[in-house]
Symmetry: D3
Subunit: 338 residues, 6 copies
């Protein structure tokens, strides 16, 4: 039973130096358009849902290109405003082995999304026409107007009796010094409204300031997440633990806390082609499982496999169908399909 | 002592999405021209043999391009017919890690090769002018006319006292439902004519319907291959067991059954750059070893190393010289050659 | 006042050799997705209309890519069926100077569109939900089933009181020998149903078999088009005369016959970057002018300028906005816009 | 006798859609780094002068890439500050025929150059170590701080007895409504300081508000430029008249006013490959002629030929040597040089 | 009636900066393999002849790539020696408008061809197995050993009663100062052996030192060519006059002198995409006309049209079929072929 | 405290087949400019030093491109001579797994550097204006003139009281048969002059002919290096032991011998993206550590990490900053930096 899902957030132009080159080594860049909400919606579109970004794109050829590419990903532009002149950008120098990937943001504070006025979106109307809306902590990091818009939208969704999804996604570099203190009240408000939340113990400790009685991550998770669920009355909390192996492969352990119980995926270990957006793929798996009323054991395994596959695909945006993810849950590494 | 070897089969256009992208993610495609016979002949050309495809290419610019690329690979076009309008194609979305490679065929049933009339090739003349001819089970999967042409050609080769090479290469998706039953009589006829055969225990069990007394692959192989050799009076049977490791590397164990004895290569484990065509590289190694009268121990190691190297080369078509394969048989992974 | 416009026709993959190369000279191809209906709808989408192709795409990754690219062009996939395995293709070797562009079709007879069964589309439902539907003579050239589907759809549109648009687009190579005789009855039926028709005097003479009393094209046009309009009761007929100058530039003279009067554009002379699809751009201009109730003088000038601009854009598909076309109608060649 | 020349202005990243595509049609962009001052200095570097940009680049990988590319062009980074996070950008969709090139600016107001504080550059030190400094009207359009910095630098150059070069380069879109009124006082101040000025009659009429007694451009030029030279005490004023021919070629007429006399180049007509930066090439020719004490007839012909050649080169930045320009002054279109 | 034609000469790697860029502006190069003999043979291969280069390629991966590409062009490698380590190269910066194309040679004196020992080729055997052999003045410019080899080969061809073809192709930059004096005796010897010669009046005046009684090129041609034909007893002499128009198009007038009569093509004027190799295309047209016994009027028009088409094709090497050239002889600029 | 460092050696054009292709499989090549000295200087430039190559580049467009690219890498061209016509080249077919990378040199003996006359560089002047000069054993392999120039330069550096750095870099293929005997006297002379030397036990055994009492590499190193240090009075000797793991990763152990003591890095194991130039990165780390007076333990770890990072970067040339290397010394494999 397909649902209608919206997402509130910035659309960005990703400009990648090809061939693992540095910006100083290339005179071509690969362009794509992404963003946390874009990635989640694109994934949900592959699963059959109707998906609509709620955002503002510039009213110029860059905005035209962004909108065309969102449509290509399966996103419907009904709630896309066109206003202003700027699109947030990030330059990506993909890493290799001991050299980490490097992201350089550009033009973000001035972007059409980040400068859209408070109250300019018809949040109540949108809320009434969708089943769920996705919010992301990255938006909260932008500025007060974006924060107020996000909160107003979440309140409208709650008021309309629809599902609020919130991915904590705390990015230290975007919040700056004293970021946790600045972020906390906004996160608390969002968590009070949210039905499905992506986070892990680090968010609980650092953003919410909860004390942990252990130094071991899994213990912290098992101690703090139920407490967060209770405090903020959150039906579903999910997230991952990521570990980078000595041989460069990543390991992922997904968890899902719902109905007062924890569910874990098997740990997955896999090589990585493009790591960006894999967290959004995990979120999309959790959302799909919950919207489709999968058993929780199934949901957490589905989300982990969705995230694993997202690491194997170029670009930020997941492209796997439900069938492909089910197959990846069942099999090891496959040979050619022909 | 170089030989003259022909191969009967379809030439295909391979259209690959670059950078491990999906078709939905790319607006450029990498083009090459391949096919099981093309790959085997190209490899044999590197070993010094004179090689001639027996096929039909369209009589239009696509056929011109295909023929030019066959010549580039070292194949002589003397037995290439030019007729019709279509070339079989396949689109390749190369996989990574848990995401398998995906092949989408196009335009195959209508291809010039697959619609060439029965008896239109001068098989007897060709047979008299070559030392050996390679056939592939993929051709048998196409349609009755192709099957009858293949069989007529193999009979002509046999009648001329030349070597019939048959690579079973059973592709379930091409034969469809009840494929084994449809395929069996054709495979049996080809095996009765063949001198050198590539197959393994799965072909014996599924295509030929032989019962196995064990569930272990190697036992099955050692039980069934001698039986096939005897039943069909086949001098040489060879093949591989492939295993995909947890870290994504492939392992290959080559076997050769000749003179009532089994010979095995050491198992080779290696990373994979382009897996397609590696089976043809193995076949080419077996054929070269037999045509050049290598010791069987040498032949099976040569074929396995040839196949390993084919995994390291872009495209379907092997490019290694005899010297490079000998070096790979002796050494581990090498540093730069300069 | 934006309208809803559908188009019935095949979507094709265009595979272009880059850099004006021949197929024999390239190992990369540029991919895009087009078709007469796609081009017209894409142009109308730029003018603000809601546009929906009525077609069948294969149910495989090639169809996924095609559908994603249609969405990118602004087309809504609501009436796109997914069935079968094949997409029509054409290979383009772009010409230069005395070397004409060369198009090689592939996989067209087997395409999902051309093999879709009669009556499989919900034509009555579609007709009731749109304002106008575009048909193209290229579809009529395919096979009887496509012809019957096209006719049934046009009848449904007529029955629903909506506008039937028919672009004669007679392609001799597709109809083969005796093509005019085969085509005539189908063209006559379509013309009886049509409200807006793109054609010129050659269609009248060759397809409809009308006698001309002059050998001069413009005289023929002025003699035959009113007669066609009367015979078939067609409100609007439009088309172009194209002439290639000695220096390689093209000249275009657009005409529009409506309300018993002829309207002509000024002749436009311009250099050509990509000529394919420029006829569809002209049709889109006529359709837009008529749907938007431009004065006929304005419509014919708008359509000619739209076509001129389409010659300046890479690919088959027009990309100009209404504002850009108005500007081109007023100005000569412009300097940089910055 | 080579000179040392500095230029004050913004460095920009140019992001061009390849193959004359639109931003909506491409997923790769060609990157280069340019700017009015960069272009002039790069040209002067080819003529043997020592050249130094005075600017601020971001202190991140984008700034690293920009600085590396300036060095590649022959510019010495001694006076390049590294500060802030943003580089001005422009997206270029190159035009063809009736479709004009389209430039979309991005990230400019926030660029490191445009946000550099007043007085942060060591203008006096720089002035003392160079022979001449180039300023551009584009910088004046940015904001008050940039304007004040430019003026302070020009005053320092004047005070040091060095040559002030000022290219009026009035860009209406950057100054906005009432732009002429806002711009006038700044232009007047710069003109009072300048020794070499690039402008034409339009600048005199619109920016300086001078009345013209004729409507013919050449008359206006001959009336107004001597008046400007006198009013502002400018030794050398130069500029061009550009005309776009019906066949798309550009025609250029260069003028030079010095020592109370006018000198004109022959009008040059030529095809255009990349028009951006050709005005800077003209300026570089004037500067080189004056610094090298060419006869004025020679200087104006040299500058015009330099500009013509700049239209034949990809990117904004001129690449012709003095010898190549001299040859172009003497010859028609040449055949291959081998 | 297809013939067997050989050509003696150097194969070169062409390394072209793409997008009309300079070497300083690119970090990719387009590679192809050409040479005067390669171009002529490739063209003759399109006309149905059997063609064989007589040359030496390095015995390393560069030589492998060159040989594979010759095969792709249709050349048979039977007379290709593999020896040494170097392949001649040239870097091409394609010109535009007033900026001429620039060729920079590299590695030529050391090339395997230019260092092959005297007498190392089996010239007598080759001569006996072919119908004609093409020689080029460029080879004569290399060094004494190459000159002696060329002469020995031409003598062997003459002795075997086969056709000697000699294209004068005098390149001043390769012969250096006093080049005419050094070249003359070698040219004289070749002309005495030749049956078909490509040259024009400039070769007669400068290389052979003949006095001209007029300053007009056509008069000089008509005066000197019959004299050369008589002196050296040459059955067929042919060549072209090229003129570059103000708008950048080239004009070509082909001539053919045979049986004591002159034949001229109509002058052809056309835009140029890649000029290099167009002289070889002309030569191939003359050779094909003579070998196929076309009427001389037909031959000269065929050769001119072949050359015109060669200007429209990327790379040095002609790709037009006989049918395409006949069509170009009959028609103006064509529209799309589909 | 930044230093001024020069390097004497050849600059080469690297022409790489993209996508791990063979030369026979590609028609594009990736171009960059490198060389042992270039790589070391580029790395030192990232660390803040002033760096100047001492070399000769051809006086043509290839030399222009090379010089522009050196400037882009941060090298100052003050001591770059422009003379002659040739640049050394190497073609790279990058390996994968069991297929080793293959380097084919071209045009090297004729290069402007290798044919520059003895004494043509102002060595004394250069020596007086720098702190240290880097020499490489590859230069010694070229010819006697280069060897004599290198030695004269090293003597001038010594005479000026500056630091002589010598990287032994013995390349067997360049020295040919009896290479060790030919090389020994030159190496001995250089070692007598050198202050900092890169070598390992193999150089001591084979080039210097020292006997080893053990067959174990580490024992040989610990036995022979102190002896070399003593014999030649070398303050600092450093080098690496490289090992290729079964899974294709490389392991590196760096050593530093100074002040009569050995210092070792931890062994580092890492995947390899581009191995060429990684030895130069190690040398640059040693030089930077010594010039900056790091503790020896720090220097050897810094050099090893610098080398490890150089394996992760496309091209020969290291691009890591001091900060990035310090981070790599402290951390494991990192996640995205954003």
């Amino acid at each position: 039973m397909p649902k209608t899902v919206a997402a509130f957030g910035e659309v960005m132009m990703r400009l990648e130096a090809p061939g693992l080159r540095l910006l100083s080594q290339t005179d071509t860049l690969q362009v794509s358009y992404s963003g946390s909400g874009v990635n989640v919606l694109s994934a949900l579109s592959r699963f059959g849902h109707r998906v609509l970004p709620v955002t503002t794109l510039p009213d110029n050829p860059i905005g035209d290109a962004a909108e065309a590419n969102l449509r290509k990903l399966g996103l419907l532009p009904d709630f896309v405003r066109r206003d202003g002149l700027h699109l947030g950008m990030y330059f990506l120098e993909a890493g290799f082995g001991a050299r980490p990937s490097r992201v350089t943001y550009s033009n973000r504070p001035q972007s059409s999304f980040n400068t859209a006025a408070e109250g300019i979106y018809p949040f109540a109307d949108i809320a009434s026409s969708v089943d769920a809306v996705h919010f992301c902590g990255i938006s909260l990091a932008m500025n007060d107007t974006v924060r107020r818009n996000a909160l107003a939208f979440a309140e409208a969704v709650k008021a309309a009796g629809k599902t609020v999804i919130f991915d904590c996604n705390y990015r230290p570099a975007l919040w700056g010094e004293d970021g946790y203190a600045i972020a906390r009240p906004w996160y608390e408000k969002m968590l009070h409204l949210a039905d499905i939340v992506c986070m892990n113990e680090n968010d609980a400790i650092h953003v919410l300031g909860l004390p942990a009685s252990s130094t071991e991550r899994l213990h912290q998770l098992q101690e703090l997440i139920p407490s967060v669920a209770k405090t903020y009355n959150i039906a579903t909390i999910a997230g991952t633990h990521r570990h980078i192996e000595a041989d460069g492969r990543h390991s992922l352990l997904g968890y899902l806390h719902t109905g007062d119980a924890f569910y874990f995926s098997d740990p997955l270990t896999f090589p990585v082609y493009d790591r960006i957006g894999a967290g959004d793929a995990y979120a999309s798996g959790i959302i799909h499982g919950q919207l489709s009323e999968f058993a929780p054991e199934q949901t957490v395994r589905f989300a982990s496999a969705a995230s694993m596959l997202a690491h194997t695909i170029a670009g930020d945006t997941p492209f796997s169908s439900e069938a492909q993810i089910f197959r990846a849950m069942m099999e090891g590494i496959g040979d050619i399909e022909r």
